[in-house]
């Protein structure tokens, strides 16, 4: 393969997951929260027959990005309704981003996510709290809570009404997945 290495690991797997789980419709709008150099969606656009319009956000300035900035601030301030897909190819646990998305959306979205548990295993306290573990419990037994981080993440997204998830697990700590997120009926 003729290629220049980028910071995208498992690029083929990530692209395959997205290509194989695109919505049925022909014209698709994507909000890419960790756009980077745009290699993932650029290749998907190249390989798919669908018309894919990508809006990218990244904290670092790249030649190909649409908007530089903190994606947390951006997703809080823009309407997510134009988008069919929100891509959260994060470097750790995408809890914060998905929580905001779940609170804001008014129509169904496909979420693509990357979940990487660091060697230290720390996951957001708020996520543990949402599934019933207090901060004290987590602090008291960190080893217990560093296990099965992705399972705990799935437990959490089940509380958002997600009924099905598809993911790949090419290495122990890395999970790439997707699910359909529906608008919340009852928001606190």
């Amino acid at each position: 393969m003729s290629s220049q290495k980028t910071n995208n690991s498992f690029l083929v797997e990530k692209i395959a997951l997205r290509l194989n789980n695109l919505p049925e419709k022909q014209k698709i709008k994507v909000l890419d929260l960790f756009h980077g150099n745009g290699c993932i969606w650029g290749n998907i656009k190249r390989l798919s027959e669908k018309i894919i319009d990508v809006s990218g956000i990244d904290i670092k300035e790249y030649a190909s990005f649409s908007l530089t900035g903190d994606n947390m601030k951006v997703i809080q301030s823009i309407s997510l309704e134009p988008y069919d897909i929100i891509d959260v190819d994060a470097y750790g646990c995408p809890y914060e981003q998905i929580k905001i998305i779940s609170q804001k959306i008014k129509s169904e979205k496909i979420i693509f996510y990357t979940f990487i548990q660091s060697m230290m295993g720390s996951l957001p306290f708020d996520m543990f709290s949402d599934i019933g573990f207090s901060n004290e419990m987590v602090k008291k037994t960190p080893v217990l809570f560093s296990k099965n981080g992705h399972d705990k993440f799935l437990d959490w997204i089940s509380l958002l009404g997600v009924k099905q998830v598809r993911f790949i697990n090419p290495t122990g700590r890395k999970f790439y997945g997707c699910f359909v997120l529906c608008p919340r009926r009852n928001t606190k």
């Binding site: 220049q4 690029l11 650029g42 390989l47 190909s64 019933g132 089940s158 009404g161």
Partner: protein, 195 residues
């Protein structure tokens, strides 16, 4: 003997043995990269003239160093090399020739990775190497094969109550049987940590 197709025209042609590299160590190429150029020439023919600065009795190469190396390698492999189309570039001295070579390698304009990938839609991209652009050289059908690695999981709303029992090792040993009995009860998931 294998022949190389010439797919461009110009007023002059030169035998590659009479072309001398001009860029020195400005650009380095690996054997793999030379092989990519060879594959490209085999597939598409020799498609662009060499840019040559003719100075005294020398034909200095201003553009085409990679192809020059590839063609020399092809000659070793037994290819029959014809004379190749060249365009002569004017330069009053070595300094100006260097300036022109650098300008030939300069990138005036903005191209994003998105733009490059968009431009390459529906075309085959092997042997193309653009810095920063990682092409996925697989077909859609090959990528669909990756679906077999997907794990599908049905989720049910998470409903669990968590109780943390924290005790010293001595207390644990004293109450081990009681804890074991509780852990065996229906609906109870028991996990033990030692920290």
């Amino acid at each position: 003997m294998n022949k190389i197709e010439i797919k461009c025209t110009s007023a002059s042609t030169i035998n590659i043995d009479n072309i001398e590299p001009f860029q020195g160590t400005l650009k380095k190429r690996t054997k793999e990269q030379i092989n990519q150029i060879i594959k490209s020439i085999e597939k598409f023919g020799f498609s662009f003239p060499f840019f040559i600065w003719k100075n005294e009795n020398h034909n200095w190469c201003l553009d085409g160093h990679g192809r020059l190396l590839a063609l020399k390698e092809m000659k070793k492999q037994g290819y029959d090399l014809p004379d190749f189309p060249v365009s002569f570039i004017e330069a009053k001295d070595e300094n100006e020739a260097k300036q022109k070579l650098l300008r030939q390698n300069s990138f005036f304009g903005m191209t994003s990775i998105d733009d490059v990938l968009d431009f390459c839609k529906d075309i085959e991209v092997s042997e193309i190497n653009i810095p920063g652009v990682e092409f996925i050289n697989k077909t859609k059908a090959q990528l669909e094969e990756e679906k077999k690695n997907e794990i599908e999981k049905i989720l049910v709303p998470y409903k669990k109550v968590h109780i943390l029992l924290s005790m010293s090792p001595d207390t644990f040993i004293e109450n081990e049987n009681i804890i074991k009995n509780i852990s065996r009860l229906e609906g109870i998931e028991y996990v033990q940590s030692e920290n």
